[in-house]
Symmetry: C2
Subunit: 519 residues, 2 copies
């Protein structure tokens, strides 16, 4: 059973002894924190306003007006979403949840909404952390849940590609592919609770640290329903015929059309693996080693540099220069030689590869990685501010950016009266720069933690913007990143995007408030 107010499955929540240990650990780290626990409200006690719209009879069977269902679709899963739910602060709730069973249902729903001026918010797994699925326009709105479009329609084993409907969740997709020995191998942290369509619409980042980082390059062809017609691109391994049509819809976050299916490039399941953890005395050396690796052409599948605080909190490792978690994999050939060369590069930069133990930093970190959202929710219910933000920049820009971001976060925490720590890791690395990912763990004042977080977020986002780093590497723009995204994108591109929006969605019904405003 999915939580309506927080992350994941009810049965996986942090409870009992795990919660007590977690709170103890935080109390040790932040001795002044008020860690009183708070319970979520009962859904039945919340005053959810009746729907303001009625679907035409032909669509009525697709619609749900159930308050709990609508509440579950009212927000994503950011810290600020979870806390507002815990506080029973409803905000806007979609008038209906609509679940199309076919692409032609999608067309019909679009027609209805365009004609009636109803905002239509596409919904995959609802794991947005940027306000991407939340109605904020004040007017009538529906949540278009694509969860019934969940088939793997065709598998082409020769080209290793599959035609997949947008509403397929990560685990179901892999279940479909496993019997053929194939895999998409796109594992964002939200994997269990997000869909292919959501990944495509938001340019999701998976677990590959190099090369196949974003979902973009795994797309062979897209099918998108727009109010101006259905867009279907050809299945092409590569093309140079004009600007890529797919790249216009990738990252469009439901503002230009509804992605209903895609041909996705697959791989054989890996047979060979090799991995290691490397400790460093100085974090600058660790960054240099990671850069050398990113520029080596070795293309590790995993190359995650945890700074000392991240290593301590989430990998159980005390290392003054941080820990680099490295992994190689292949379906075709052994990868030990690649790991050996990678470790040689690390040693050249002062790294100390750790003897492979039964359970080392990388295992600890992976386990922690999947528990993080659950722990975040538990801590949020105990008055903590726990949230992340992420970016990308060039290697040369990173040291000053890190300093500026940490300084801004600390200053903002001070001003907000929050005591805490900021961690940093690289989730992905490129030859020309890393994708740094920051975590904030701070004590808050129950009832004010969203406002406190918003102050911190504004400060760090301003720092990113000032250093010409992206406002998001893989969390998308949604509604929450708009002020910084608007500054970041080139003005002529913004004008182009508005023109595209006016052409494909003339009624302006598609996910209003996200990415662009109507012209």
């Amino acid at each position: 059973m999915r939580y309506w107010w927080g992350w994941g499955h009810v049965e996986d929540a942090v409870t009992g002894a795990e919660r007590a240990a977690l709170i103890d650990r935080v109390a040790g780290l932040l001795p002044g924190a008020d860690l009183t626990g708070h319970e979520p409200p009962e859904v039945g006690d919340l005053d959810v306003r009746p729907p303001r719209v009625t679907a035409p009879p032909s669509l009525a069977a697709l619609c749900s007006d159930d308050p709990a269902d609508r509440l579950g679709h009212a927000r994503g899963k950011a810290f600020r979403d979870v806390v507002r739910n815990l506080l029973g602060e409803l905000g806007e709730v979609p008038d209906l949840v609509v679940r199309p069973g076919t692409e032609s249902d999608v067309v019909d729903v679009l027609d209805w909404c365009a004609g009636a001026g109803i905002a239509l918010i596409p919904y995959g797994g609802g794991s947005s952390v940027v306000g991407g699925v939340e109605p904020r326009g004040g007017g009538p709105a529906i949540s278009l849940d694509l969860g019934r479009l969940a088939d793997v329609v065709e598998i082409d084993t020769t080209a290793r590609a599959a035609r997949v409907q947008a509403g397929v969740y990560g685990p179901a997709l892999e279940d479909h592919l496993r019997p053929r020995g194939l895999t998409l191998r796109h594992f964002p942290q939200s994997f269990e609770f997000s869909t292919l369509g959501g990944w495509l619409a938001t340019r999701s980042g998976g677990h590959y640290a190099t090369v196949l980082t974003h979902i973009d390059d795994m797309v062979e062809a897209l099918r998108v329903v727009t109010p101006a017609g259905v867009s279907e691109s050809l299945r092409l391994p590569g093309s140079g015929a004009g600007p890529s049509p797919d790249r216009l819809f990738l990252g469009s976050e439901g503002t230009l059309g509804i992605i209903t299916e895609a041909w996705m490039r697959l791989q054989q399941r890996p047979r060979w693996r090799a991995g290691a953890s490397v400790l460093f005395t100085a974090n600058d050396d660790a960054v240099d080693a990671t850069r050398a690796l990113a520029q080596s052409g070795l293309n590790p599948a995993n190359c995650r540099l945890l700074d000392p605080m991240e290593a301590l909190l989430n990998a159980g490792t005390d290392s003054p220069g941080g820990v680099l978690v490295l992994g190689f994999e292949s379906a075709d050939h052994p990868v030990d030689a690649l790991l050996d060369r990678a470790l040689e590069l690390c040693r050249d930069h002062g790294g100390r590869p750790q003897p492979r133990a039964k359970r080392d930093a990388s295992d600890t970190w992976r386990a922690a990685f999947l528990r993080m959202p659950y722990q975040r929710d538990a801590l949020a219910a105990h008055g903590m501010i726990v949230e992340t933000f992420e970016t990308a920049c060039t290697w040369g820009a990173f040291p000053a950016l890190r300093e500026a971001v940490l300084a801004a976060a600390r200053r903002a925490m001070d001003e907000a009266g929050a005591q805490g720590v900021v961690t940093c890791r690289f989730t992905h690395v490129y030859p020309d720069g890393p994708a740094p990912y920051f975590g904030v763990y701070a004590s808050g004042r129950w009832g004010s933690t969203v406002a406190q977080w918003d102050e911190i977020k504004t400060a760090v986002s301003d720092a990113l913007s000032a250093h010409r780093a992206t406002i998001t590497h893989h969390h998308a723009v949604g509604r929450d990143h708009r002020p910084w995204y608007d500054r970041q994108r080139p003005a002529p591109f913004a004008a182009a995007l508005r023109a595209v929006k006016s052409t494909l969605d003339p009624a302006g019904i598609l996910n209003p408030g996200v990415l662009i405003d109507p012209s």
Copy 2:
């Protein structure tokens, strides 16, 4: 000295003994061919119409009305361009060649053209083979030659990236980078006679057979002058903030703006190399071996499968199943183990790796590759039809596509009264499919060879279209591929592109006729 009528440098032309040997070879292959030689006209004898426009005094110094200069900018370097030049068929010639020295000159020229309704055709190296630089609208037109914007402005050795102006030719760019041990390593066949700006505007394909095939992935940031303002994207190694702004301009072929500079991702120069040629008895086995390689994750830098006719004509190798030319390279580590595994995969599919000789099929082929355009021109002057076309498709679609294309080409040659052969090679390979590249060598009737070629081209393009293959993998769309591109692109995307065009280029002056028509 560059030829005005054909490919490359005058001093590198096929003359004397080389030309005699080439013609002898063709006579042996096509015994019925009329191989009489024809000379190009003298430029001075051609009746080039005086310019119909006069630049404002502030721009006069940038403008050339020299007839030879304008003739040299009137067309690209396709077979049909060269033959029309040889015949002295002028067609439309730009009224002026304009050479901006700064970005602000570019802005001023755009302003002038937008105000005066003059078509502005961006010109890099002029190596288009799709009518991309040729005025066809009937009205006044200028050729904007970016050759003076030829600086490498900045090199960031930490991120391994350089800020490069659009007018830099391939060799000059590598000359700039070599002293720093860096390289772009983007070597299209036109390398010597094409520019960075041209590569970016047309999504050029380089020599890498896998991964970094198109220029697209080497772009860190773009600067584009549009009539609606300058678009500058941030230097980002990766981003998920909305649809990629750069991907809208990559492949826009001068219709949305003038790319003036780009931050390009570089690499260290390779230190380790390993290569081999592999012979096959059956071409189907060779295709399967190439697919296995493309899906192996070994990522060869070179992986060119030549069919038996291509192997015979251009690699001097008689092999009934064709030849696979394989190469690996790295700046960081030895690559022999990768080659060994690749050869093992080839043997699994019946391939016979050749002992590495002093000069083998791959050397012969590489030398032939660079001579091809010169030989094409020589043969064109002797009444031959010599041209190429290329595409991409999935692995499963390839066998039927090849049959259909070869059948269409042969039927069209028959109907056009041309006797000849069609070759096929893979220039690039992807996990999900190859990029097949076809060559036509046929006897023609002097004076009619353009019309004969146009019939053949129409037939093979229709075959590509019927098989849902792309009309171009890396030659771009230009004016010549329009009918098939218009069918290929999704209708909502075409509408979106027209909307972008209207917004960024409201006067419709930028490369009219290419990619899209004004709405």
